[in-house]
């Protein structure tokens, strides 16, 4: 399967790789939300960390990803898109937009779903830490084939 140029670009030059600290270091940091989704036995694990300022704006985001090139590109792209957005705006990002932007074929749609899940999980973590209500009814279809 041939990859789109955008997938190759994100693969070769991933944006915002890293973390604001190890999982134990960021566990109690109220300005950091962590989302880890997927599982090694499924062949994909995505970790997204967001740093949120006092106004609820995502000032920085970092990712790590174990998964195929499309999964790496999806999470790299996700960090670019959420930076500078408010947490509620970031929640609006749907996997279908990632699919369009990266021209992912149908078998790779679930990799974009994983990126959307990681955004939501990181924001939920941030909100929980800060005593905010988490809207758990995200009505999301887990059409993940792994």
């Amino acid at each position: 399967m041939a990859y789109s140029e955008k997938v190759i670009d994100h693969y070769q030059n991933p944006r915002n790789v890293g973390a604001f600290g190890s999982s134990s270091e960021v566990k109690d940091r109220k300005d950091v939300g962590v989302g880890i989704v997927g599982a090694p036995e499924c062949g994909d694990v995505m970790q997204l960390q967001i740093k949120v300022d006092d106004d609820g704006k995502i000032e920085d985001a970092k990712f790590k990803c174990f998964g195929c090139g499309s999964a790496i590109a999806s999470s790299s792209l996700a960090t670019e898109w959420i930076k500078g957005k408010s947490v509620d705006e970031a929640l609006e990002i749907k996997n279908t937009r990632i699919v369009e932007e990266l021209a992912l074929p149908p078998v790779k749609i679930h990799c974009s779903v994983l990126a959307e899940d990681s955004i939501r999980t990181a924001i939920e973590d941030y909100k929980k830490k800060n005593g905010q209500v988490v809207d758990s009814a995200h009505g999301h279809d887990h059409s993940h084939a792994h």
Partner: protein
């Protein structure tokens, strides 16, 4: 050195130009039907086919009359397994208890699926599980045999991990118990010395395109004496191949198959030594440059030219993307249409992570040391790039065992 580099010879091989040379006249000059008994075109074609039969037989220590031409190893496996089961069935179609078959869970699909069909059709099948090293032993087979066992089918060498089963030993057990023994030797024949007499084989499949011959042509060895093995045909028609496989023969393909066998007979010894040295260099160099690099399957009982390596914390498809100049394959789920990881690596019982992180590299007749050196550097670089992105590698470096974490699985 030309890029891309081909390191997927277990999948298929380049046809040797000498083989192509041998085939060409049979398209445009000697184009008769080998079954045409009454004119020179037919005789010439038949002569080509019969020479090929001798070349194929001689590669495996058989007689020419013991070779049946097919379209490839898939067909050979189907003919051997279904043909023997139906011939030696203990009860007619439609009844249960038709007989017992022994095979293994990490066989090629071209063995698994015929066995599954026979299971639906009233035969009992024992699916042996090899240990973590992937090797099927004579003891495992002996332990599975029953009074009503009619057939054992165990591959000679595994196509994904290159492990070698104890075929002479398994054959001896079967011979002693009077059970027909088939081996799918697609990855073995032509690469390693084979003698159906010494190795106690009754039925053996192999394919042209894995031995630097053309695709779409294969052979089935069918033992004719001590004991004579009989098969029920799966393709009926004009009664070619002594009734075992009807259909006008693919004369150029068969001639090419024979030529490929002859070259293997001639060059196997030097080729396997050369490829073994290259494979060991590949494995050892990668293992010495990086941590958590595992060669899958038994350490020594393996084909010279094939390796299957897992690079911990790195997903196989993304790794292949990083080494796009190297044609190879991976057992990762992301590379398969079904999004399932390799059942062979899963079958070793070592956890799915191994499969997701695996790369199969298979060398061949034209592989060079320069290519191997290039591959080592490219793989090293790609693994480092991906480990810098891998959340699992971070956890590993923090001393956390990733198998102990409760992951949010889908």
């Amino acid at each position: 050195m030309n890029l891309p580099i081909y390191m997927d010879n277990a999948s298929t091989t380049r046809t040797d130009p000498r083989v192509v040379e041998a085939m060409l006249p049979y398209f445009t000059e000697t184009y008769g039907n080998s079954a045409s008994r009454n004119h020179a075109f037919g005789w010439a074609a038949e002569k080509g086919v019969e020479l090929a039969r001798e070349q194929a037989a001689s590669l495996i220590g058989a007689g020419p009359k013991e070779i049946v031409w097919t379209s490839g190893a898939t067909e050979s496996n189907n003919l051997a397994i279904k043909g023997a089961a139906q011939m030696y069935a203990k009860a007619p179609m439609g009844e249960t208890g038709r007989g017992h078959i022994v095979t293994c869970i990490i066989e090629h699909k071209a063995v698994l699926d015929p066995c599954k069909r026979l299971e639906r059709e009233g035969f009992d099948v024992t699916w042996l599980e090899p240990g973590a090293d992937g090797v099927v032993t004579a003891e495992m087979v002996a332990g599975a045999l029953r009074e009503d066992t009619i057939l054992v089918s165990i591959m000679w060498a595994n196509n994904e991990i290159g492990t070698i089963n104890d075929i002479p030993g398994i054959g001896a057990v079967c011979r002693e118990r009077g059970v027909v023994f088939h081996t799918d030797a697609t990855q073995w024949v032509g690469k390693m010395p084979t003698d159906v007499e010494k190795d106690n084989v009754d039925l053996m499949s192999w394919s042209g395109h894995k031995i630097y011959g053309p695709g779409g042509v294969g052979a089935l060895y069918v033992r004719r004496r001590r004991p004579r093995v009989r098969l029920q045909a799966q393709i009926d028609g004009g009664g070619h191949e002594r009734g075992m496989r009807s259909g006008t023969l693919n004369v150029p393909g068969i001639v090419g198959f024979g030529a490929a066998c002859a070259i293997c007979s001639e060059e196997m010894e030097t080729e396997r030594e050369r490829l073994l040295a290259l494979r060991l260099k590949l494995e050892n160099e990668l293992k010495s440059r990086m941590d958590v690099v595992e060669v899958n399957g038994h350490a020594d009982r393996r084909l010279p030219h094939l390796t299957n390596i897992s690079f911990g914390f790195v997903e196989g498809e993304s790794l292949m993307m990083g080494i796009k100049d190297i044609a190879c394959s991976s057992g990762s789920a992301c590379t398969s249409a079904s999004l399932e990881p390799s059942y062979v690596l899963k079958g070793l019982g070592l956890g799915d992570e191994l499969a997701h992180s695996s790369l199969r590299l298979s060398l061949g007749r034209w592989s060079t040391e320069e290519e191997v050196d290039y591959a080592i550097d490219a793989i090293h670089k790609a693994v480092e790039h991906l480990r810098a992105l891998s959340p699992l590698y971070d956890l590993h470096n923090e001393g956390i065992d990733i198998t102990k974490i409760e992951w949010q699985t889908h």
